[in-house]
């Protein structure tokens, strides 16, 4: 089996960051409001593996959104300094992707509506980031619209 990639959208990433302990980076996580049961299995497979056969992937844009809605995302569970420290020195199992010209090219492939429901530009950046990787990737999201997307190499997990 190859390397496992799982992109976390902003809400799922917030749950992961809340539980991340830099003193024990491979500690198993628990279910959260957004980090649901099936997602958790994938995330914990990656987090506990010290051989690094898998990675959580997040867009730099997710961190923009986390800062932009800091109190709503973290409800006092972490400080801005803790978030900054993760940005500066992320855990070994977390890849934070740049927003670059490849992202913009992939953004063109993301539909702006599914079954008549609009896909937000924010969400489209996350989907573009998943496409950008060019590998099979799980996409962890609680968004019901995104889960309906049918895109190559992306498996949406919303439970």
């Amino acid at each position: 089996m190859g390397v496992v990639y799982a992109l976390a959208d902003t809400c799922v990433l917030a749950d992961i960051i809340c539980q991340y302990d830099p003193r024990n980076p491979h500690k198993l996580l628990s279910e959260g409001k957004n980090l649901r049961k099936d997602m958790l299995k994938i995330v914990n497979t990656i987090v506990e593996d010290e051989e690094e056969n898998g990675y959580i992937v997040a867009s730099t844009f997710a961190f923009v959104e986390l800062i932009n809605r800091f109190d709503a995302c973290f409800t006092g569970l972490i400080t801005i300094e803790r978030l900054m420290s993760i940005m500066n020195q992320p855990p070994s199992w977390l890849i934070i992707e740049n927003i670059n010209i490849d992202t913009s090219q992939c953004f063109c492939d993301v539909p702006n509506s599914i079954d008549g429901e609009n896909v937000s530009s924010d969400d489209s950046v996350h989907v573009a980031t998943a496409l950008q990787r060019g590998d099979n990737i799980f996409f962890l999201t609680t968004d019901h619209i995104l889960s309906k997307m049918d895109l190559p190499r992306i498996t949406f997990i919303n439970t």
Binding site: F61, N68, N98, S104, C108
Partner: protein, 128 residues
């Protein structure tokens, strides 16, 4: 010579015609285009309709060499957030994250633009 971010109309001209308007080239050495701003523009084009994904991708192929397209990395965002004025402006702002990300691009460590002029030029851009 000023370093500027181009306004949306000018960016679209560049992307559709592949050239910087002569009015700009007379006083600008290099134009800087934050890629997140280009994504915002593509989103507007998607909403207008009438273009396929292939049509939209072609817009990027036409961006001329004299336009420097800038990425946003997590280290650039970290540097932006290390500027207390910037951090105070955007923490919990709950505004348009594309505006936030575009302004953070000014802190990318490519080192050869004037950040003050860059940020000043961004003030010309209206956001919803």
């Amino acid at each position: 010579m000023a370093d500027v971010v181009l306004n949306r109309k000018e960016i679209l001209t560049i992307m559709e015609k592949g050239q910087v308007d002569a009015r700009y080239s007379n006083y600008v050495d290099f134009a800087f285009l934050p890629v997140i701003l280009a994504i915002d523009l593509i989103e507007r084009e998607k909403k207008r309709g009438g273009k396929t994904p292939a049509d939209l991708k072609k817009l990027f192929e036409l961006v001329p060499e004299c336009v420097n397209v800038i990425s946003l990395s997590i280290s650039g965002l970290y540097d932006a957030m290390s500027d207390q004025d910037f951090a105070d402006k955007y923490i919990n702002r709950t505004g348009n994250p594309f505006e936030f990300a575009t302004e953070a691009t000014a802190y990318e460590n490519e080192g050869w633009w004037d950040r003050v002029e860059f940020l000043d030029s961004l003030k010309e851009l209206p956001w919803e």
